[in-house]
């Protein structure tokens, strides 16, 4: 999804109405539950239609950050990019739960200058916003984007220090620990949007292994007023979890604004694309491992 756009460099695609864009970004750890005092996980990271088959594009690893159980910053090692997937390792040396996450924020939007509509350059961040909008620009419209793709791995007993929300974008706060999931049991997760319960957020859960079955097995869930969803895992395995708002992406409420919303008289020619005010965009992706009882 998102990363596909980025890789294609086709930011314009972001401005299009909802399309059937199904490419999914994912990270797949070799293990999520580990024993001993010192262990490693290796992670595949890719973008593809079917989770977790790497057959389309590698996921960039530059932005991946590791948070250790005590909250300190760890690192990825041995990162490599192949034709279809990236791979990297994380060395676990502290007992507890680690987060491995690719979190990005940015601002998208447009302005009008000399009768022409211009788009904010890719990679614009909030603090750089003033410097990328030229003097004399009018009809400035911006929206923030927050994307989070994270996985969790635990050495020894699960801990919860790393789950303190940052207050930006969509975040998952476990009620059930994400490394303590067992098939047949119900797990509860709370989703936050910018630090507040994401009531009515649509959350999609897809089990891996689609190549060897007919039905996708997708679970479409809606968060309650507290942002909570309950998932009962039908079987052990890896599950891809996605939630997003804005932009009509998977799990989102709809596309970008309606057609032709320029100021009256300011647009003698019809806009070449829908130009409603951009919406706040946020996306969340995780991979959860569910063990057999």
């Amino acid at each position: 999804m998102k990363a596909t756009y980025l890789i294609a460099g086709a930011l314009a695609a972001l401005m299009l109405p909802a399309t059937a864009q199904a490419h999914r970004q994912w990270m797949l750890p070799s293990s999520t539950t580990l024993s001993g005092d010192d262990s490693w996980v290796t992670v595949d990271a890719a973008i593809s239609n079917d989770v977790f088959y790497f057959e389309h594009f590698p996921m960039p690893t530059d932005g991946i950050a590791v948070t250790e159980p005590d909250g300190s910053t760890g690192k990825i090692e041995n990162a490599a990019k192949g034709r279809y997937r990236s791979t990297f390792d994380v060395h676990l040396t502290k007992p507890g739960t680690y987060r491995i996450a690719n979190v990005s924020t940015g601002v998208m939007g447009s302005y009008r200058l000399n009768g022409k509509q211009e788009r904010l350059p890719r990679g614009t961040t909030k603090d750089k916003l003033a410097s990328v909008i030229p003097a004399g620009a009018t009809d400035v419209q911006t929206a923030e984007m927050s994307n989070r793709n994270e996985i969790f791995v635990t050495l020894g007993a699960p801990t919860t220090t790393i789950f303190k929300p940052t207050g930006t974008g969509i975040e998952m706060v476990p009620v059930t620990h994400p490394n303590d999931l067992v098939s047949g049991e119900a797990a509860t997760f709370q989703f936050l949007l910018d630090g507040k319960p994401a009531a009515d957020l649509k959350v999609t859960v897809i089990p891996g292994g689609i190549r060897y079955r007919d039905a996708l097995g997708q679970m479409d869930l809606t968060a309650d007023k507290d942002g909570k969803v309950v998932v009962t895992w039908p079987e052990p395995g890896m599950y891809w979890v996605n939630a997003s708002i804005g932009g009509g992406r998977e799990g989102g409420p709809g596309g970008m604004g309606g057609p032709g919303a320029g100021a009256p008289g300011a647009a003698p020619t019809p806009p070449t694309r829908p130009a409603g005010p951009p919406q706040r965009r946020a996306a969340y992706v995780s991979t959860l491992e569910v063990l057999a009882p």
């Binding site: 293990s31 539950t33 580990l34 024993s35 001993g36 005092d37 010192d38 262990s39 020894g156 007993a157 699960p158 303590d180 067992v182 063990l291 057999a292 009882p293």
Partner: protein, 177 residues
């Protein structure tokens, strides 16, 4: 009925104690026999085995864990999580090696273990319904859990038996003084 039985036991235990060392007056033992089956496979490794008890509303207690505890750099602990039900119930909260719990992996055959109430990993047991679990996980092999439910304090001469089908053979729990 149960109370009278406990009193009777106390008496015998105290008698026995007089002749040996000062054992707790209520000493009772769980005698467990575990059969590890001989398997005809190309690559055989002795299984990791965990034995623990659970009681509703109480923290599970590990009684015995057989694993490759003596590998360099503690490498044998890497596979403890594959004894997955035990790992979740009790193992991940344990600091290993644990005194009186950690043991070496065992060869196929019958293995006898004995745990004394009030002592060692078994500790003291309040009255109630318990389950003793035996879980075996074998490298390049399978995994199996066998359950032995019992009531504490036990009836005199009570025996609980179960039969594993793949990674475990016959298991039996008897209660002694």
């Amino acid at each position: 009925m149960q109370i009278r039985y406990r009193l009777a036991l106390t008496g015998t235990a105290a008698l026995g104690a007089a002749a040996t060392v000062a054992a707790p007056a209520t000493a009772q033992t769980l005698n467990l026999s575990v059969a590890i089956p001989r398997l005809s496979v190309a690559e055989y490794h002795r299984p990791y085995v965990a034995i623990w008890i659970e009681k509703e509303g109480a923290a599970p207690r590990s009684l015995s864990v057989w694993y490759d505890y003596d590998m360099k750099n503690g490498e044998g602990t890497k596979w403890l999580r594959d004894v997955r039900q035990w790992w979740r119930a009790s193992g991940r909260a344990l600091k290993l090696p644990a005194d009186g719990v950690t043991g070496a992996t065992k060869a196929p055959g019958d293995h006898k273990l004995s745990f004394t109430a009030g002592k060692g990993p078994l500790g003291s047991l309040g009255p109630g319904n318990y389950t003793l679990f035996i879980e075996a996980a074998r490298e390049v092999g399978g995994r199996e859990v066998v359950r032995l439910p019992f009531v504490w304090p036990p009836k005199p001469g009570a025996t609980v038996k179960a039969q594993g089908s793949t990674e475990l053979g016959a298991v039996a729990l008897t209660f002694g003084k």
